[in-house]
């Protein structure tokens, strides 16, 4: 289980954007989190991805509470989660070729010897051709770069995937292709998914269940 319990998080202690939110994702389950822009859903996704330390509340990852965040998180917990962000341009190092971009998580965890094999295996599954792998981010389109970012997220075979507005910048066909790649990975590995977005139609079609942000935070609706 990926369990977010009574999470309060934000960037200013006096005015947290996420207040007392509880949400859990069962193994193999896909949950769509819907909300308008600026509501705090991305912050919650960052908490779930161990990228933002909450002010209060607990995150349980397969039963173990998360005590450290970001680079201080233990390797086993960090690598159990794959993250795809909204803007591929901002989440890709412009100096890396796509191969190296995808391989970075293996390098970072000291498993260089697996790079060649894993990248060759993953690239076709996200629809990347060998000539694209040799290019740098400025030489590919947003859609192609996002495919590489998805491959990077899947590289360490995470048990949990967090997709924060993964397809907001993409056209219909690329969106469908990336969602298909995620679903293929999930049916092969049984990974759970938290997909954050504002497109009800898309998340409704993609996920087992969708939760709206208003429902999650309705306890404080009187504010």
């Amino acid at each position: 289980m990926l369990e977010l319990q009574a999470i309060t998080a934000g960037y200013d202690r006096k005015a947290p954007v996420v207040r007392d939110v509880t949400l859990s994702v069962a193994p193999g389950e896909s949950v769509g989190l819907l909300g308008p822009s600026g509501c705090g859903k991305s912050t919650l996704a960052r908490v779930a991805a161990l990228l933002h330390r909450p002010d209060a509340g607990t995150l349980l990852l397969d039963g173990d509470p998360v005590r450290r965040w970001r680079h201080r998180a233990p390797c086993a917990q960090r690598t159990a989660i794959g993250v795809v962000f909204q803007q591929p341009r901002l989440s890709a190092d412009p100096r890396l070729r796509l191969t190296d971009l995808i391989a970075e998580p293996l390098r970072a965890t000291g498993r260089r010897d697996e790079v060649r094999e894993r990248v060759a295996e993953l690239a076709p599954s996200v629809g990347l051709t060998p000539d694209l792998l040799d290019r740098r981010p400025h030489e590919v389109s947003d859609g192609q770069l996002q495919r590489a970012c998805l491959a990077r997220a899947l590289l360490l075979r995470p048990r949990w995937l967090i997709c924060d507005e993964m397809t907001a910048m993409l056209d219909a066909s690329t969106t469908a292709a990336l969602v298909a790649a995620v679903e293929e990975y999930r049916s092969a590995t049984g990974a759970g998914l938290l997909a954050v977005g504002h497109d009800q139609v898309l998340l409704g079609r993609w996920c087992d269940r969708t939760v709206s942000w208003e429902k999650l935070t309705s306890t404080e609706a009187g504010e």
Binding site: P36, T129, G143, A176, V179, W206
Partner: protein, 319 residues
């Protein structure tokens, strides 16, 4: 039908790369936009949509070459010099609604001051009170709330920034509005709102609107006609009602794009678009097309707003 506001005739744009490669960003585009009409130009990212917009505004980078013609009234936009473009075209004949309004607005000045500056630059209004009044009227036209006029861009939400940018674009009373991805990154409610605002400018102001977008849902809501672009070429121009309803798109690519929507089949088009620097001789979509035959290695002729050897044809048309 009234005379078109904008006529694009055989517009092509080539980029010359340092390596000597030529990138065919736009190839032989033909279309018209009339007053009171909205044409939506859709296609995948990187297909050349935004380059086409830059060509119309004379904002192509130095290594680009444009050929063909684009006529706005009696001005040929491609032949016009920078002085004409700056003094009579941008803002006055073409109002640009930019892709990311937050980046388009000057961050260190209030919305009011930017509106007033534009009023002074584009209209003959003079005198502090008159300018102030004209700026407020401009804000109201785009439904920008008067209470937010003294805010800086970073204090505005995405929707309000969009309206501020729209208000700026409308000041010059340009007959043609050009909206480049006006809804990217906005949530569904804001998309609807933005699109409805734009539509109102078309209906009430009798302006011509060219919307460039990859958001088909937004295009469906606003467009009278659809132009679909693939690998730099406009492959289909259709009436929007027929495109989204029955009989549906005629070009296999448009069909695939529409079928990829989550509310439809949610099936991606196999493969990826070709490189614009390395296009095949024939139909660029053929390698991904299920209807492709050996004929597709030659370029199909454009007929009835369609560039395809094997279009989807409805029964009554075939008879």
């Amino acid at each position: 039908m009234t005379a078109p506001v904008l006529s694009v005739r055989g517009l092509s744009v080539r980029f010359l790369m340092p390596s000597g490669r030529r990138i065919a960003a736009v190839t032989d585009a033909h279309f018209d936009v009339a007053a009171g009409e909205c044409l939506a130009l859709v296609g995948e990212s990187g297909c050349g949509k935004s380059v086409l917009a830059s060509a119309l505004l004379g904002l192509l980078p130095a290594n680009a070459q444009a050929a063909g013609g684009a006529y706005l009234g009696d001005v040929d936009l491609l032949a016009a010099d920078e002085r004409t473009l700056a003094r009579t075209v941008r803002g006055r004949l073409i109002g640009l609604i930019p892709q990311s309004p937050a980046a388009h607005l000057t961050p260190v000045r209030t919305v009011r001051s930017q509106l007033e500056e534009t009023v002074v630059a584009l209209t003959g209004t003079r005198g502090r009170a008159a300018v102030r009044q004209a700026a407020e009227a401009a804000a109201e036209r785009a439904a920008f709330p008067a209470g937010h006029l003294d805010h800086h861009p970073h204090e505005l939400s995405g929707g309000l920034a969009q309206r501020a940018a729209t208000a700026l674009a409308l000041i010059g009373n340009a007959p043609l509005l050009l909206a480049d991805e006006p809804t990217t990154g906005l949530d569904r409610d804001l998309v609807h709102h933005t699109v409805d605002e734009l539509r109102r400018q078309v209906d009430v102001g009798r302006r011509a609107l060219l919307v460039i977008t990859h958001d088909l849902a937004a295009a469906e809501r606003i467009a009278d006609r659809m132009a679909v672009m693939y690998a730099g070429r406009i492959v289909e121009i259709s009436d929007a009602t027929a495109f989204f309803g029955l009989p549906g798109p005629r070009h296999p690519y448009s069909r695939g794009l529409l079928g990829a929507l989550p509310e439809r089949d949610f099936i991606p088009i196999p493969g990826m678009p070709p490189e614009l620097g390395d296009l095949p001789d024939g139909c660029a979509f053929a390698p991904r097309c299920e209807r492709a035959t050996p004929t597709c290695t030659t370029l199909p002729a454009a007929a009835a707003g369609l560039v395809c050897h094997h279009p989807h044809v409805t029964e009554d048309l075939r008879a």
